[in-house]
Amino acid sequence: MDDTVIKAQGVGLTFQTADGPIHALKDVDLDIDRGEFVSFIGPSGCGKTTFLRSIAALETVTAGQISVNGMTPDQARKARAYGYVFQAPGLYPWRTIRGNISLPLEIMGFSREERAKRIAHVLELVELENFGGKYPWQLSGGMQQRASIARALAFDADILLMDEPFGALDEIVRDRLNEALLTLWAKTQKTIGFVTHSIPEAVYLSTKIVVMSPRPGRITRVIQSTLPRERPLEIRDTPEFIALAHEVREGLREGHSYD
């Protein structure tokens, strides 16, 4: 059960720009085990998005290597190893919620019956059973983001990569969605990579918190959570939670003192 699904070894990524090279990632080593919930946190520009995109084969690393399920990221993508949730829901206005969730399934060639079955299943997972026939503009921002998570879950990849999925939402909605995400994670046993700017969110959700720092983008600290997997919202008032949050804050500060 405890096998590594994502393995980064000496990963570097340099963007060649008109103003010279930008070292978005440098010497990144990280192992993510099956079923882990890993958060990436760090100041803007530290390469969180770039790292997640490299895992998803949306960027190509320029040094080191990443393996996903023992394959290159490109092979893993073609093997439908992951679902990716972007910062914006990116739902198509001309498709209903059901139609939007159906989109990747159509592209991957699932049969009509199979699609219907999967759509019903993921709608239930994100608690949108009654909204399948609605259009995106008829839903709130939080519901839209849930729909986009459902879309990423529909083809049942083992890995879910999420880049600040709740960044644009208010705190109350965010709390609810975080709770829902944990429930979903417990139910589906997926491995989740999650980018965030919020310390409480990272601590609340993760089994492992990866603290990053910029110029060049690198990992400064990996914190293993001591919280149980079962997490009611109130856990955020426990001393254990506060201690973890403190440790993350320390890590962030440490990263900053380098420059």
């Binding site: 993508r77 073609k78 439908r80 990716y84 972007f86 910062q87 159509e106 592209i107 991957m108 083809f155």
Partner: protein
């Protein structure tokens, strides 16, 4: 009721002002001829005589609005629609060539746009020629097209439709290229994350995203197709169509006929654009893209 009035009031006011200026212009421009006539007959014209005469001439330099209205009404409703004097018949001749040219032009524009978006080399090779084609004055091209086709024994609808297509493919090409390129980096990454093929990306993302742009350009294109058709009807020999009506009117100094044909063309253009607009609205509303 009051809301309708409030919306219509500015339009009506402008219309009244235009009509008033038109009447003044008609009196002024047609006055010279009346003055010459009066001088030849050594009469003195009172102002009211002057006004009634300038507004009722047979071949005025500028016909008065009511003369054009009568001419238009007579042309549309006063003749059997199969008669050569019927504006409806001429409008139909023009309309059929316009629609054919519009279909050819829009089709070509869409196909070229798809090619351009999918292939870098087409982007670089087609676009400059498309732009160049529009910088050549249509008035210079139209007679050549007519003559070339006529020498091959083809007359009537097709050569006019080709000229209409020449003018209408360009806005569709430009609008469609822009439309097909609207999907943003995130939407394209999404497609990539699902390992979608170019084909799937085109039919499921690019094409639907482009529709608002396509419709906007179709409205421009259909009006351009009408202009193209009318220009195609101007070269010597054409006897049918609103363009021919314009030309024969100017040969014989039938200014009322010219203006009637002009208004018929304007009404036709407005109607065509409105129809495209209605289809646009209905489609975009259904797709949730209406703004």
């Amino acid at each position: 009721m009051t809301r309708v009035w409030r919306n219509a009031a500015p339009v009506l006011t402008v219309l009244m002002v235009i009509i008033a200026i038109w009447y003044l212009g008609a009196v002024r421009m047609n006055a010279t001829w009346e003055r010459d006539q009066a001088a030849r007959a050594s009469e003195e014209l009172t102002t009211s005589q002057m006004i009634t005469r300038t507004l009722t001439q047979d071949r005025p330099i500028l016909p008065a609005p009511h003369q054009v209205a009568v001419g238009l009404y007579d042309g549309i409703a006063g003749q059997a629609i199969t008669s050569r004097r019927s504006l409806v018949w001429h409008a139909w001749v023009t309309l059929s060539a316009t629609l054919a040219g519009f279909a050819i032009g829009a089709g070509a524009g869409i196909l070229l746009a798809v090619g351009i978006v999918h292939s870098r080399s087409m982007d670089q090779s087609v676009m400059p020629w498309a732009v160049a084609s529009q910088t050549v004055p249509i008035l210079a091209i139209a007679p050549m097209v007519i003559v070339v086709f006529a020498s091959a024994g083809i007359t009537g609808l097709l050569p006019k439709a080709i000229i209409a297509a020449w003018l209408s493919f360009f806005p569709v090409l430009v609008g469609m290229v822009k439309g097909l390129r609207t999907p943003d980096a995130m939407q394209l990454d999404q497609m990539k994350s699902w390992s979608a093929s170019d084909n799937q990306q085109f039919w499921r993302l690019r094409l639907p995203s482009s529709l608002p742009y396509l419709f906007t350009s179709l409205k421009v294109a259909i009006a351009a197709a009408l202009v193209g058709t009318i220009v195609g009807e101007l070269p010597a020999g054409a006897t049918a169509g609103l363009g021919a009506r314009l030309l024969s009117g100017s040969y014989y100094g039938q200014t009322v006929q010219i203006w009637s044909a002009l208004f018929a063309a304007a009404l036709l253009a407005a109607g065509l654009v409105a129809i495209v607009g209605i289809i646009e609205k209905a489609t975009l509303r259904r797709m949730g893209l209406a703004r």
